[in-house]
């Protein structure tokens, strides 16, 4: 018997019981809608976090000072003060594939300018910093390597600093004072917004690393070293090379530094949302199974109800296979119908969530395809037993059935 004829027969049977068909599919509809909505919201959250991670820079590897032990008291990561500008220079010199290296010194200072003052973070960096952070200037220029060598008193400032210190003048060429030292503003950064830890990345004054170390912070050690790898693929190799290099420079002492890459950071940040998505996905999966059981239930009722019809079909020459296919296709149509309606409902509800709650929502094509395929599979799995039961009927008994 031809498949199209079977499909027509199955559709006819479903059309005879419209309300029942819709109610049966409802379990699948809700299950699929839940999956789609959950995955969309989860993806939206993930892409938001990923965007924030990306704002940290491109292919970035960070070296942080390790823990220091003072009189038996072990400090945490970052308490060691052994990361030096020479380490940064060694990395720049010796690591192949490191396109930009910037030692970093962080500080907070009161900054005065234009008759106003503002407490902001002072970053001592190398000229390569903007490339590492994937950050552009809106006007002016970055300070140069020559400035760094000569511990020049120049600064590049973020938008928040502009707003607070230079509300109505062009900051380029203006002077701001840090610890009473005049720094000339040579560049203004484009806004970058908040990072995912919630701090304002634009609230920053960047000065040459050497200037920061000698003039502002007056310290010898670095808060960290940022390295940009050429390609994402080379990150882990470069990370290892840096570890080896620094280890070698310390002549076998216990490592007092830690090397991290951006991927690890991103993974940590997305782990939570992944756990959440998995959990919600599991709940949605359970509701799909429940929906499948609903379909099985109705198909069993339907087989009993239509025993006589099955008897007629068998008597006039239907094979087991024909009857099995008929009921299997009915179950599949129900579940695929549920899947398609569920996808529509899921997309609609995630759109509502996005417009009403302002959450970022990202409907993934793969989730849609998977949902429809899974619901078809559910139709086959849960439709199989009733279909098998129908196909096994004896035509004589089936014809006698009242």
């Amino acid at each position: 018997m031809r498949l199209t004829a079977t499909v027509v027969i199955a559709l006819r049977a479903l059309r005879r019981n419209k309300l029942r068909s819709v109610l049966t599919a409802l379990g699948i509809i809700i299950g699929v809608a839940a999956v789609i909505a959950m995955v969309s919201i989860g993806n939206g959250a993930k892409s938001l976090v990923e965007g924030q991670i990306a704002s940290l820079g491109r292919n970035v590897i960070s070296v942080f000072p390790g823990s220091a032990t003072t009189g038996g008291m072990r400090g945490g990561w970052g308490t060691s003060s052994t990361l030096t500008i020479e380490d940064a220079q060694a990395i720049e010199r010796e690591i192949a594939g490191a396109v930009a290296v910037s030692g970093e010194v962080r500080d907070r200072q009161q900054v005065l300018a234009n008759g106003l003052n503002w407490n902001t973070s002072i970053l001592g960096e190398s000229p390569g910093y903007l490339s590492i952070r994937d950050w552009e200037l809106s006007s002016g220029a970055m300070f140069t390597a020559a400035d760094e060598r000569s511990t020049a008193k120049v600064a590049v400032i973020g938008q928040t600093v502009v707003t607070n210190l230079f509300p109505d003048v062009d900051p380029i060429g203006q002077t701001l004072r840090i610890r009473n030292l005049p720094f000339k503003v040579v560049g203004v950064l484009k806004p970058k917004g908040f990072n995912f830890f919630g701090s304002d990345q634009d609230d920053v004054v960047i000065v040459p690393l050497t200037s920061a170390m000698r003039r502002v912070s007056r310290r010898q050690n670095l808060s960290g070293i940022l390295i940009q790898a050429q390609t994402p693929e080379s990150i882990s190799r470069i990370q290892q090379d840096i570890t080896d290099l620094l280890q070698q420079r310390r002549g076998g002492r216990e490592p007092d530094f830690t090397v991290r890459n951006q991927m690890e950071l991103a993974e940590a940040a997305t782990a939570t949302s992944r756990t959440m998505t998995a959990l919600l996905g599991a709940i949605a999966g359970i509701s799909l199974v429940v929906g499948g059981i609903g379909i099985m239930n109705i198909m069993l009722v339907s087989v009993t109800e239509r025993t006589r019809e099955i008897g007629i079909r068998l008597a006039i020459g239907a094979h087991d296979r024909d009857v099995r296919m008929q009921f299997l296709i009915e179950a599949m149509i129900l579940s695929i119908l549920g899947g398609v309606l569920g996808v529509a409902l899921g997309i609609a509800s995630s759109e509502i969530v996005s417009s009403q709650l302002g959450w970022p929502v990202l409907v993934s094509t793969s989730a849609v395809v998977i949902a429809v395929v899974v619901s078809a599979v559910i139709g086959i799995v849960f439709g199989f037993y009733p279909a098998h039961k129908a196909a096994r009927l004896d035509p004589i008994d089936a014809l006698r059935f009242e």
Partner: protein
């Protein structure tokens, strides 16, 4: 000429737990093409079991059954289904049409299960033709519940005919019909038989059996009488007689 139906010492035994029921105890029978046979017997005589065996719905416990020269005893479930589809047509007492399915679609049904592929246009053409034979082509789009009992049975006959079977098997085809409609249905069978179709029908009504050419009487799972019908009734004549009787009744009623 080769017999279309040939039973050789066929038995059928059901085992009901410990008790064995011998429904058919050795029947030997030959039916030639073009015959019109009535199988009669009281309930429990084994005529229904015999009918199930003849219809390839059931397998004999022992003995051989040759349908159109082919031994059916070794056939599998699906092979028997193909045989039913190709060589047999069934007419049931309760009509057994698919509800909420038009007369035309009901008649098309056996062609959906045919081994050969028939285009939907061809299916439709043959179904209309079969409905035309039973005089119902104008009711093609009606649903069973929009048709009278006689009309439903005629749709069922059209369905049984549509694959051009060797034998038409009818199980109490007039059992659910009034006497006038019964005569009408027997008229359809007689017309088909005159066109050369072999018909075997089960009935317990003597009047109905007299429309056939040959009567078998089954008792306790055996054929106890097998004879040609001497005073065969002709449906057309009987219809005419019924009409006259009705007219007479009306005339009497009106005076």
């Amino acid at each position: 000429m080769q017999p279309v139906v040939q039973l050789e010492n066929v038995t059928k035994t059901y085992s009901n737990g410990e008790v064995e029921v011998h429904a058919v105890r050795g029947i030997t029978l030959q039916v030639m093409p073009g015959e019109f046979v009535a199988i009669m017997g009281s309930s429990g005589s084994g005529k229904s079991t015999l009918m199930n065996v003849l219809g390839c719905l059931d397998r004999p416990t022992s003995g051989r059954y040759l349908l159109d020269g082919v031994d059916t005893s070794g056939l599998e479930r699906n092979e028997r289904a193909d045989l039913r589809n190709r060589k047999l047509g069934f007419v049931f007492q309760g009509f057994n049409l698919l509800s909420r399915t038009t007369a035309l679609e009901n008649v098309e049904l056996p062609m959906l299960y045919s081994a050969e592929r028939i285009s939907s246009a061809e299916r439709r053409r043959r179904a209309v033709q079969a409905l035309d034979i039973v005089g119902l082509s104008d009711r093609a789009e009606h649903l069973p519940n929009q048709l009278s009992g006689g009309q439903q049975q005629r749709v069922a006959i059209a369905r049984a005919l549509v694959n051009r079977p060797q034998v038409l098997l009818a199980d109490e085809p007039t059992g659910n019909l009034d006497s006038r409609t019964s005569v009408e249905i027997m008229g359809v069978f007689q017309k088909l038989n005159e066109e050369g179709i072999t018909i075997m029908m089960v009935t317990h009504e003597l009047d109905i059996a007299r429309f056939c050419r040959r009567n078998l009487i089954v008792r306790d799972g055996r054929i106890v009488r097998d004879e040609a019908v001497p005073d065969r009734l002709v449906a057309a004549v009987e219809m005419q007689r019924l009409r006259e009787a009705e007219t007479a009744a009306k005339l009497i009623g009106s005076t």
